[in-house]
């Protein structure tokens, strides 16, 4: 047991040693930064009273030089990298544009080549009875499989994502939604279908790549315009009853996606450039 007087005396003795009242111990690190912003060595070395030597003078000049150079280099780098990023971006855009133009050119070439193939085929088949039969079969099949441009009455369906920039992927048109729609159209008796001008054949893939839906590996821009040629009296009614129609009815009602069906008196759908000659046989003499 110590008397209360002893305790008071002891704390009074400690008081001068502790220059400042102890602040919250958890703040010690920050307090030390605030209390000792200058390197304490400055005071220590000055107190020791060493003579400044010329050797350190040169070091000082070198360090000052280095600091100045660092500032200049950093400033230069930041000012130079900003336009560099912009240049890179425009270059990427121009490269994309060039690649798209090249793709268009190649597709046009493929179309003209397939026309040439058709002409050559007709020339090779000659005028025989079997040849005429073959040509008439080709002529009746080509529009259906997508190998030839077709014109006729049909329906136009315009689709788009739900309004507002929803983060929910289900509020956007997905590749599956387009697949369901197109399957519904086939089911309803459509003879030719095109999405945003890309004619579909039974070999066309509708799938998503990144943020975009691709048809025939070409990405689509919103809104999606699906055109279908078919019997004008039955196509629309049968489509609404099909599974694709039901699917989209639900999307339009529950997800507020744009879904507008209208009739077209006449529409021309170009041939699918993806149709290529896969099998050929020389005519038996």
């Amino acid at each position: 047991m110590t008397a209360p007087g002893d305790v008071q005396q002891a704390s009074a003795e400690q008081q001068p040693e502790r220059r400042r009242p102890a602040v919250d111990a958890s703040m010690d690190l920050l307090n030390q930064i605030l209390r000792q912003p200058v390197d304490p060595d400055y005071e220590i070395v000055t107190a020791r009273g060493n003579e400044p030597s010329s050797r350190w003078r040169w070091w000082l000049a070198a360090v000052a030089l280095v600091i100045g150079a660092m500032l200049a280099i950093a400033a230069l780098q930041t000012t130079q990298s900003a336009p560099a990023l912009q240049i890179e971006r425009t270059e990427l855009i121009s490269r994309i544009k060039a690649a798209e133009a090249e793709q268009d050119q190649l597709r046009a070439r493929a179309t003209s080549l397939s026309a040439e193939i058709a002409a050559l085929r007709e020339a090779a088949l000659g005028n025989g009875a079997t040849a005429k039969d073959l040509i008439s079969r080709l002529n009746s099949l080509a529009p259906i499989v997508g190998d030839r441009a077709v014109t006729g009455p049909g329906v136009l369906i315009v689709l788009d994502d739900a309004p507002g920039n929803s983060a929910d992927a289900r509020d956007r048109v997905l590749d599956l939604d387009l697949q369901m729609l197109v399957n519904g159209l086939w089911q309803a008796g459509a003879e030719a279908v095109a999405i945003n001008g890309h004619r579909l054949s039974n070999l066309t893939a509708i799938r998503s790549a990144g943020d975009a839906i691709t048809v025939d590996y070409r990405s689509l821009n919103r809104p999606y315009r699906v055109e279908a040629i078919g019997n004008p009296r039955t196509l629309q009614a049968r489509f609404v009853e099909s599974s694709g129609g039901g699917w989209w009815n639900e999307l339009a009602q529950n997800r507020r996606m744009r879904y507008e069906v209208s009739t077209l008196s006449a529409v021309t759908l170009s041939a699918d450039p993806g149709m290529v000659l896969r099998h050929a046989r020389q005519r038996q003499p």
């Binding site: 003078r57 000052a64 600091i67 280099i73 950093a74 230069l76």
Partner: protein
């Protein structure tokens, strides 16, 4: 006088010669600059207080830059490089502000 001249010559040299920093060292340049600014403000305050010595400045500058770079390097290796860089900037920033305030008090008596 020497440090001011050295600074100016360094800035001019950097602008004229435009030396390229190796890609490996580039992330450490901003940190090194903050450490250098801290050393400069500390040195100026010590100079005003009459305790400035060349040797301490050179040694403290080099060690500060190296330690700051090392902290960021270690942070990069363990995946918290940007956070540790922020920490270094905050700590050195506090010191810069405190020293600048002390310099202002001495120079302008305000």
């Amino acid at each position: 006088m020497i440090p001011v001249l050295g600074l100016l010559v360094g800035i001019v040299l950097g602008l004229v010669l435009e030396p390229t920093i190796p890609q490996v060292l580039q992330p450490y340049l901003p940190i090194a600059i903050v450490a250098a600014m801290d050393a400069l403000f500390g040195a100026f305050r010590a100079y005003l207080e009459g305790t400035f010595t060349d040797r301490v400045f050179v040694v403290s500058f080099i060690s500060n830059v190296l330690i700051a770079a090392a902290i960021v390097y270690v942070g990069d290796q363990i995946g918290v490089g940007s956070q540790l860089a922020t920490g270094v900037v905050v700590v050195l920033g506090i010191r810069i502000f405190t020293n600048a305030a002390a310099i202002r008090r001495v120079l302008f008596r305000a």
